[in-house]
Structure formats: C-alpha cells, structure tokens
C-alpha cells in the first residue's frame, strides 16, 4: 500500500515581497482493481516572471490529474504508454491556452513546469518539462529519473506553455517495480541532489522516508504538517529562499 505525503511552502523571498507560493502539487492513490493501485504524483512550479504563474501551476495539476485518471479508467481499450503522456500534456496546454484566452492574457502569463509520476506495482511512467527533479528507487538502487532541465542558459528553464513544449518533454516508462518516489521543485533541488556525484543526496531523503515507512497509513495526514514545518525550518530557509515543494511516497515495508 502506498503511503504519500506532500507539502508546498512559500519561499522567504516571496514572503518578504508578499507574493504567494507559485508551486502546486497533487499526490494520491487511485485504485483500479483489487490489488492494483496507481500512485499519481504531480508537481508544478509557476514561473516567478509570469503574471499568473500560481494559477498556471494549479491548472496544470488539476488538468493532469483528471486526464491521468481518465486514462487509467480506460486501460482496457487504450494502453498506458508514451502516447498517453503526450495526450496529458496536450490536455494541459489546451486548458491553459483556453484560460489565457478567456482572461485576455497570453499563455506565457501562466508559464509553469511539470513533473509527474504514475506508478503501479509493475509499471511506472515518469515525465517532466523544465527543472525540479524526480528520484525513484526499486528497493535496490535509487536514482534521479531526469536531471533538472534548465535549458542552455542560467536562470531559465522550459515551461509547459511554450510553443514547442513537447520537444522538451522527457518521458521514461519502466516495468521495474518502483517502490519509492520523490518529486520536488527547483527550490530544493540544491539540497536534494548532489551535483558533484550526479546522484540523489541520500542524507536529505533517508530520515524522512524512514519515518514514512514506519508510519501507519491512517496517520500519514499528520505527517503532511510535519513535512511543511520541516520545509519552512531555518535549516532549509538559510539554504534556499525560493518556493519549495516536496512529494514523498513509499510502499516499502519498514
């Protein structure tokens, strides 16, 4: 059984200038059949430079969730493959462009990144546009699924709203049984990844995952609070002033 916690915390630079958190996330389990659960995790980071970045991130998560659920509800006729991911992203883009149109804004005013993981006991689909990263493990090894894609220039990244967004979409599909995943926005990628070793920074995840593995399913909700407090703690805030989002999920026995 999957146990999931998540938190999105506004960065100190945003609190100082009275800006809201531009990140959004979604994480939950969708039961398909007896013994067949799909974990759905999404993280989206609205661009700080975009007028409606926060709304873009929300819309991306909401639309992705409903598209993914529609696909998972229809697995008997349509397989879950890279094409499914393409359709999800197209749906998100359609939703954002329509929203922008309705509010007489440009799609880029809703610019946001997107990270996603859809995981069943025998199949996992990961996808990503832009920065932030996904870490996954199969019980033996832990690795970064996609390294943050920040494009060729410093301080820039790719967004779901860009004209050629699909050219910057990374997709990985594996039938390795994945039992733990972590998705996080760029606000904590410096803490969660070891750029020297080009690998996940284990000391960052291990204590949290240890707690989560031992937790009873019904008690997980309380852990969301704890995670939020941790992300807002001085030890984190002195190392990043950006918005921070972290989703953690495990189905590994303690």
């Amino acid at each position: 059984m999957w146990k999931v916690i998540r938190a999105s915390i506004v960065g100190t630079s945003h609190t100082d200038s009275n800006l809201p958190c531009q990140d959004d996330c979604y994480a939950d389990v969708m039961p398909i059949a007896e013994g067949l659960d799909y974990l759905i995790c999404l993280v989206s980071d609205g661009a700080g430079s975009a007028k409606e970045g926060r709304k873009g991130a929300e819309l991306a998560c909401v639309t992705a969730r409903s598209s993914i659920e529609a696909t998972l509800g229809n697995l008997r006729s349509t397989p879950l493959d890279e094409n499914s991911v393409l359709e999800w992203i197209k749906d998100i883009r359609r939703a954002i462009y329509e929203k922008a149109d309705a509010n007489a804004l440009a799609a880029r005013d809703y610019a946001c990144t997107l990270l996603g993981a859809v995981v069943s006991p025998n199949k996992a689909v990961f996808f990503q546009i832009g920065d932030g990263a996904i870490v996954a493990s199969n019980g033996y090894t832990q690795g970064v699924v996609f390294w943050p894609d920040s494009g060729p220039y410093a301080n820039m990244t790719y967004f779901v709203t860009e004209e050629d967004a699909l050219a910057h979409l990374h997709v990985t599909i594996t039938d390795t049984p994945i039992d733990e995943v972590a998705l996080f926005s760029d606000g904590i990628q410096r803490l969660a990844l070891s750029f020297e070793q080009y690998a996940p920074h284990t000391p960052f995840f291990e204590p949290m995952l240890n707690v989560l593995r031992r937790q009873k399913l019904v008690e997980c909700e309380a852990l969301d609070e704890q995670l939020a407090r941790f992300l807002n703690s001085p030890q984190i805030n002195e190392r990043t002033d950006d918005d921070k989002t972290l989703v953690l999920a495990t189905r590994r026995a303690p």
């Binding site: 890279e82 094409n83 393409l86 992203i89 197209k90 883009r93 359609r94 462009y97 329509e98 149109d101 799609a107 004209e163 050629d164 967004a165 699909l166 050219a167 979409l169």
Partner: protein, 643 residues
C-alpha cells in the same frame, strides 16, 4: 458474419475483410475470383434502400460498370430474404484522387506522374460524371474520396450506393455531403435529408475536383481574405468568394502565396471555372457540364508542351514560358520530380574556347559621324527687293561721300549741313531684317531636327546593343565559373543540415488527413492543403498562424501534433546525406549549367546578329538622316549670304 445468399439462393462465402466504413464493411469473395468484392451493411437495410439497390442492379449497364464500383447483384440474409449487401467490382490498384493532386502525396507515391497525367485524370473524371449524368443519376456526395485513379489515369467512382438514383421513375436520394465540396446554394442546409440534388450541384463538385487536379490541390475558395473577421471555407463558398477569380476586388480574396493559378490554363478553361464558381453558375444549369469539361480538357491535351529545360515539366503550349520553371525559380516549389538522370560533370563544353569565339566577333563600332561635306551647297538667292535695295544703298553711300567732298570744295560754310545729310544717306542701308529672321528660323528648325535625328542615329545604330549583349554574355560566363563552387557549397549545406533534412523527410511521411487532430476537421485540413500544408513537415508556426481562421488555439493543436511526432524521430548520423538529395541538387545545377552553356554557345551567333542588324540599320537610316544634314548645311549657307 453469417453467410449471405445471392438472389438465386446460392450461398456466398465471405473471405478476408478489406475495410470498414460507417455503413458497412467490404469483404473478398474467394469463390467469385479476385475482381468481385462484397459490401455488407452493419445492420438491417431500410426497405427504401433495398428498393434502391434492386433498381441499381437492374439499371447497371456496361458503361456504368466501366467507370464505377456499381452494384452487380444483391446479397440477402437468407435465400429470397432481406437485402443486407451487394456484390461490386473490386477497385484494386487504384488510389483516391487526392493522393494525386496533393503535391507531397503525388511526389512520394507517383514520382513519375507529370501534369499531362493530371490533365488526363481530370478529363477521365469528367467523363465518368458524364456517364452517370447520362443515365439520369446524380452523384450528390462529390468528395475527394469519390474518385479513384489507376496508374494509366483511368478513374473509377466508388460509394455508388449513396448516389441519387432514378429507377422506375422514382428518385432515391443521396442524403450525405461534405461541407467543403457543397455548392453555395446548398451551404445553408444543415442536412441533406429530403434534398433533391441536381446535375448543376454535381457540376460544382466536378469543377472543384478539376481545379484541385490541375492546380496542385488548391481549393478555389481558400485564399487570403482582405476583409475583417474570420472567413472559414464553408462561408467563403456560400458567399461565392472565388479566390482565384477575375473579380478579386468584390470577393476580397486573393490566392494563397505561391499558388499556381488559372493563368497557366487556356482562357476557355479559366472561363469555365469563372462560371462554375460565381453566382452565374448557381442559376439553373448555370455551371459547365461534364461534357463541357471533357471537351475543354481534350483540347488542352492537344496543346500540351514539354519544357525545354526539364522534361518532367508539361504545360499549356499557349504560354510563352514554362510555369513550373517559373514557380521553381520564384518560390523554390518543386511540383514535379525530374526523372532524367543528372548528367555527370563530363561535358564537352570548353568555356575558354567559347569565350574566344565570342570575343572574335567584331563590334559594329560607334555610329559614323554624319556630315554634309562633299555636298555642293548653293545658297538660296536673295529676293529681288533686297538686291535692289542693296544696290540703291551703295549708290546712296557714293552720293553721301560726293556731297561732303563737294561741299568742302564749293561751300565750306555749309559743311555741317552736308555732313548731316551725308551721314543720313551713308548709314541708311538696305533693310533685310525680315528675311534674316526667316532664314534664322529655318536654320534653328533644321538644327533641332538634326539633334533629334542624331540622337536616334547614335542610339539605334551605335554599338550600344552589341555591348549590352556582350555584357550579358560576360555575366553568364562569370556565373558559369561560379557554378562548381556553388554546387560544392550546396552539398556542404546538405551535410550541415543533415539532421534537419532527415527530420524533414521523416515528418513529410505523416499526412494531416490521416490523423485525428482536435478541432481540425476535413474542411480545415482542406484549407491547410490550399496553403501548402499537407504533412507534419509543413506545420510551421508562422505559416499556420497567418492563415485566416487559424488562431493560436488551432496553431497550438497542429504544432503539438507535429512536436509529438518529432519525438519519434531518431537522427542517424551514419546515414549521411541522402543520395537522392545530392542527385536533386546535381540535377538542378546541371539544368542551370546547360541553360548557361546553351546561351554562351549561341553567343557568337547572337552577337553577329546584333552586329548585322546594326550595320543594316545604318544603311537603312542613312538616306533618312542625310537630307536632314543637308537641310542644316543649306540653312547655314542661306543665312551666311545675308552677311
């Protein structure tokens, strides 16, 4: 599928399923051979439709079976039971007509088919319509999937069971239609249920098909709209906005950029299109009939010419230049693929030798000076009045001198008076001012004539024309010298663009019409095709968003479709440059080189011609200019006499 029976009660065993449509599926019938197939409806067939099929089978004659997949025999659920389908000839080895008129499709599938083939196809399509109309039937649902074409340009019409059929005096209607092939007068109908179609309606669809086939798949009502607001294709049809028409001002429509237009066709065909696509045609029997098209296209077939530069180019012989060459030069659109193998670099052409021959042609030189020398000029004699006045003036001078001298001797006291009278007599000369003015005017006029004549002389018989031709040849020579370098450069560019070229080729295999793209239905696809967007490779943001009616939303859908396909592309650097690309470039250069060499080889002859013409003109013009020179000399002499 349970077994079916023919009308005699014989059991018909169905073989492999060949295809499925909205109404039914088509199966092989092994027991009847390879040329007969069965169409079986998905569900029960209405009594009306059963009667229609019976009527079609009964009325089917050889001429119909030749040009259409006409029902041959009904198929029944049980011996003598309800009709569930029918047998028809198999249309094998044929392709839908839009695969031929879409330039990308044609180039990929039938690289050897030229415009002569297309003219033939249009002609045979018209003939098929003529046969259907000749039987009193109407096609009704004319659309790009109606006509199938074989490699020899023979056509067959399919989906005959949807035609509007007359049998035993009863009309069985066609209740379907495709919006972008529906005539203006029917555009307001939301359904074709109960609508009786006419030949004139069919003739709109036929004209559309002919237009598409002759003019590279363009839809005549799709163009650049000069008015405000959206102008979707159906609306443009309903409002008779024929984009290629002679009345572009009132339709506010012009053809999409780089289109082939009816200007490449005989006037007679242009006029047929005018009639088919304007208000005039919507009148009863207003549009050209299938017969009209057969006649006009047969006549065009007789007037086809093969381009001197590129044998793959066939065009209407009434044009002065090859329209396909022009299109290639102006927009880089290669509508036909050259099959002639590129001749290798070996050529007997020797530039230095040819140039020496050119330089050996002597210039006619500057226009020779025109002078009146050698002519005996006799000044015109002075009028008598002036002569006598002049004689009298001499006499007066003698009198004056005599008077003064005499006075000095005889009466010196009166010398002052004598001096005054003498001066008056002495200085009152002969008055010739009027004559002088006349002669001066004559001289001025003659000189003006001469200036104009000399200007013409120098212009027309100088060496200006010769030098211009020489300059032209010299430019060609420079161009010829640069060719090899340019060819290398183009080949290098191929190498540099290896990835892009491979990607382009990959994307060019995905045809829009085969994919479901949200919000982009058949009508919008037709509009895109009219703007040269047929495959994923053609889907470029700026190209799409500039088409009227394609806003950010549709553009995004199309770009997302393309980008999604692009993800499947894997660049293979080991493949290197595609040999056909190199061959195409070589072919283009060899064409260009041949053209330049031809012009240079003809250079000496051309120069000689110019020289000959110049010299001849000199002898012709001389008798005209000599008298003018003489007039000037005469007028000069005439004036000189007056002193």
């Amino acid at each position: 599928m349970t077994d079916l029976f023919d009308k005699t009660g014989r059991r018909i065993l169905l073989g492999k399923k060949l295809g499925t449509g909205g109404e039914g599926s088509v199966y092989e019938v092994p027991s009847l051979g390879n040329d007969i197939v069965a169409k079986v409806y998905h569900g029960a067939v209405s009594p009306e439709k059963q009667a229609k099929l019976l009527g079609m089978v009964k009325g089917g004659d050889e001429s119909l079976k030749k040009i259409a997949a006409w029902p041959l025999e009904t198929l029944h659920m049980s011996a003598g039971g309800q009709i569930r389908g029918f047998l028809m000839p198999k249309v094998a080895g044929y392709e839908p007509i839009h695969h031929l008129y879409g330039p990308s499709h044609r180039k990929q599938r039938y690289p050897d088919k030229d415009w002569a083939f297309l003219v033939n196809t249009a002609r045979n399509t018209s003939a098929a319509f003529e046969a259907i109309h000749g039987h009193g039937h109407i096609i009704g649902d004319v659309n790009p999937n109606l006509v199938f074409v074989a490699g020899n340009s023979i056509v067959k019409l399919i989906d005959c069971d949807s035609f509007q059929i007359i049998a035993d005096g009863k009309h069985y209607l066609c209740e379907v239609g495709v919006p972008h092939f529906t005539p203006p007068e029917l555009q307001s109908h939301s359904t074709f249920r109960g609508v009786r179609r006419t030949k004139n309606h069919d003739n709109f669809g036929l004209a559309l098909l002919v237009f598409h086939v002759l003019l590279m798949g363009r839809h005549p009502f799709s163009g650049v709209f000069a008015g405000t607001g959206d102008m979707p294709l159906e609306k443009s049809i309903a409002q008779f906005r024929y984009a290629f028409g002679q009345n572009a001002v009132s339709t506010e429509m012009t053809p999409p950029p780089n289109s082939m237009t009816p200007a490449i066709l005989p006037e007679a065909i242009t006029q047929l299109f005018e009639r088919a696509f304007t208000e005039e045609g919507a009148q009863s029997e207003g549009r050209p009939t299938a017969r009209d098209w057969v006649v006009a296209l047969d006549s065009l077939k007789e007037q086809l010419r093969t381009c001197g530069q590129e044998s793959a180019h066939k065009y209407f012989g009434g044009l002065t230049t090859c329209p396909w060459c022009l299109q290639e030069q102006q927009s880089g659109n290669y509508f036909f693929i050259s099959l002639a193998t590129a001749t290798a670099g070996i050529s007997s052409f020797n530039l230095a030798q040819v140039w020496n021959r050119i330089m050996a042609i002597e210039s006619p030189g500057c226009a020779p000076e025109i002078s009146a020398s050698g002519l005996k000029i006799q000044p015109r004699p002075l009028p008598e009045s002036i002569k006598s006045a002049r004689n009298f003036a001499v006499f007066k001078k003698i009198v004056a001198v005599g008077l003064v001298l005499g006075c000095l001797v005889i009466a010196p006291a009166l010398v002052v008076v004598a001096l005054i009278i003498g001066a008056i007599l002495f200085f009152s000369g002969a008055d010739d001012s009027t004559e002088r003015r006349i002669r001066q005017d004559a001289l001025d006029a003659a000189r003006r004539n001469m200036t104009a004549a000399l200007e013409r002389w120098n212009r027309e018989v100088g060496d200006g024309k010769f030098q211009a031709k020489l300059k032209e040849l010299s430019n060609l020579r420079a161009e010829h010298e640069k060719l090899a370098h340019q060819l290398t450069h183009e080949k290098q560019k191929l190498q540099q663009n290896l990835r892009n070229n491979q990607l382009h080729k990959f994307l060019d295999k995905f045809f829009l019409e085969h994919y479901n793209i949200p919000s982009v239905g058949p009508t919008r696809k037709a509009t895109l095709a009219s703007f040269g967007i047929e495959t994923a490779a053609d889907v470029i943001h700026n190209k799409v968003i500039n088409i009227n009616g394609f806003g950010p939303k549709l553009t995004r859908e199309l770009i997302d479709w393309r980008k999604g396909l692009e993800r499947q592309f894997v660049f293979d650097p080991s493949k290197g440059v595609d040999l056909t690309d190199i061959a195409a470039i070589k072919q283009r250069f060899s064409q260009k080189r041949k053209q330049i060499e031809g012009n240079l080889l003809a250079g000496p002859e051309h120069l000689n011609q110019v020289r000959g013409q110049t010299l001849q003109q000199r002898t012709q013009m001389l008798p005209m200019i000599k008298p003018i020179a003489q007039q000037v000399a005469q007028a000069e002499a005439d004036l000189a006499v007056l002193g």
